[in-house]
């Protein structure tokens, strides 16, 4: 029993990392329907900025986190302006390729400047252990889960309650109509990218601290998994991204812990495909019927 509970804790902490990345992902996806392959790499950049801030400038956790979020927000806006905006009326696959280009550019520019070797963070957060019976919970695991939930609530609030959020939803449903209603579409998309990228940056710093290991290609797999999580929960749905992230984390943990760890990723993908076949728009996704 203890072991199972421990595995659930493992799964939740892994899942909350996927959720953290997936939240920003689903937001950007929601507004321009772009599989933003560069999202995972912004997360990587965020991790490196946090690394530089804590290691070389000796900033504390919060200043480093804020700095990383700001830089990533600006980076996200620049990427959108330079690489995606000119293609807003092109086919979506074209933008997808551009996103892949941006992703490769970020990865290999980083590798060129800092090298391919992994780096490790200095200790900036306590990793005090708590024992609940036989189950161990790390303080950092709690930080990450709490941050993910807090960000989810914040995002949900922004999207549903604020004026900017309303503009975002309007743009995501119909760009042209939103434009006609006086919404500044470009600005709204820019803000969405800024928020989504800032979240990715925050995730990067947290993961850097938690696992104590960053490298220029660290964003590739989590970026993909976050996309899977977003699809799993229903693309564009904020609670969906959270649930999707947690579900995938728990699933991976259970397969590795009780099944065959060699088939972990395959099992996750198989389960995803199964879910999609049963529920083609993800768990919380709206099943949009095309009007005939």
């Amino acid at each position: 029993m203890d072991q199972f509970l421990q595995q659930m804790v493992n799964g939740l902490s892994l899942g909350s990392i996927y959720a953290l990345i997936a939240l920003g992902y689903t937001m950007v996806y929601g507004i321009i329907k772009l599989i933003n392959f560069a999202h995972g790499d912004i997360y990587m950049i965020g991790a490196y900025i946090g690394f530089a801030a804590t290691t070389y400038v000796h900033l504390g956790f919060f200043p480093a986190l804020i700095l990383s979020m700001i830089v990533c927000a600006i980076l996200g806006m620049i990427i959108e302006r330079v690489a995606y905006k000119p293609l807003r009326n092109s086919s979506r696959i074209t933008v997808l390729i551009t996103a892949i280009g941006v992703s490769l550019l970020l990865e290999y520019s980083m590798m060129f400047f800092v090298g391919a070797e992994v780096r490790s963070y200095p200790k900036v957060l306590t990793n005090h252990l708590f024992h609940f019976g036989g189950v161990r919970v790390n303080m950092q695991q709690i930080y990450i889960l709490v941050t993910a939930v807090a960000l989810m609530i914040l995002l949900q609030y922004i999207v549903t309650k604020t004026k900017t959020g309303k503009a975002m939803r309007a743009v995501s449903i119909d760009k042209d109509a939103a434009q006609l209603m006086g919404i500044r579409v470009d600005k709204t998309i820019s803000i969405t990218f800024a928020i989504g990228s800032a979240f990715a940056g925050a995730a990067g710093v947290l993961v850097g601290i938690y696992y104590n290991s960053i490298d220029p290609l660290m964003g590739m797999m989590p970026g993909l998994k976050a996309f899977v999580a977003a699809v799993f929960g229903g693309i564009g749905s904020i609670p969906g991204a959270m649930i999707g992230g947690l579900a995938i984390g728990i699933m991976e943990t259970l397969v590795a812990g009780y099944g065959n760890s060699m088939y972990r990723d395959a099992a996750v993908f198989a389960f995803l495909i199964l879910i999609l076949i049963l529920k083609p728009s993800g768990l919380l996704g709206k099943n949009e019927r095309e009007k005939v």
Binding site: L14, I17, Y108, S120, Y211, S213, L217, M221, S261
Partner: protein
Amino acid sequence: MKKSLVLFLLLAMVVSLAGCSGSGDKNGGADANEIKIGINYELTGAVASYGESSVNGILMAFDEINAAGGINGMKIVPVQFDNKSEPAEATSLATRLMTQEGVVAALGPATSGNFMATIPVAMGNKVPIISASATADKGVTVDDKGNVNEYVFRLCFNDSFQGVTMANFAFNNLNATKAVIIQDNSSDYGKGLAENFKATFEAAGGTIVAHEGYVAKDKDFNAILTSIKGKDFDVIFIPGYYQEAGLIIKQARDQGIDAPILGADGFDSPVLLELAGAEALNDVYFSNHYSSIDEDPLVKEFIKAYKEKNGVEPNAFNALGYDLGMFIADAVERAGSADPEAIKDALAETKGFVGVTGTFDMGEDHNPIKSAVVIGLENGVQATSVKVDPN
């Protein structure tokens, strides 16, 4: 129309630039005072860090040799390409180095798979290739039928030597009878080590109670560790590289698993200490080429020089790369000419080459005959070293 023109010019520029740099090197080949050595390594892609480390070591060796006047007055000119960590690219580059760039020998790639992809090219073009880190047992220096690949050399252990060494170490020195294997399932290195460890350990009378796997760049191993924690075992063997091994050790110790942890030369990197932290690195043993507590002046000097140049301690790839650079230079010097055939013979006839990673003779099967050390860590510092000779 204008846009397409700009685009076309841009493309033309890149292609012609690439062409220029290629042909520039070719003209250099005619110079009798230069000796061209190919460097075919993973500088981008999944295993870029190994390639990058190896090339660092090689270039450091070349710099030292050139600073000291070169080989018989000839300067070494490294011809360096990136194979993107892809076997097909490695093949293409080996061909390019041998047929276009006119190198006398090619170094790399770092991983067995990519290195093996270049073997047919070397055999076909009769230019020697040497790897410092291709450890696979089969298909490297000896082909499937048991014939030695005449132009293929390496200066590292093969997987069976290290796997067997660590299995014996576990069984004899640590008195372990039950082991867990957590294997890097994405590299041939991990697979080769795991197979040999398992076979030897079981033959000696031990049992493998769990055999788990992970893939490179994984960061979370808690699921595997929680599941093995409930099992009864004496040691954990991690056939893999320091990037993941460091994290596995840290997370295992965090979970309260204090069984000895074993590995191979993939552990040898200062990054292991950074990732795992000093307090986690107790009761950790791995086989390696040399130990930093070694009193050998060559080792000490290399570590000091490397630290001065790069600001960090060298890892196994750096050291092997450095030796690789020195080794090829030594062979060229002994061959007395820039003829690949003569260099190949010199490589095969190596006797008593003294390197940082050990002193060795080149064996009949083109594997170096050298001893390993099993290093024990205490608080992240190398505390013990046991020498193991090849049988």
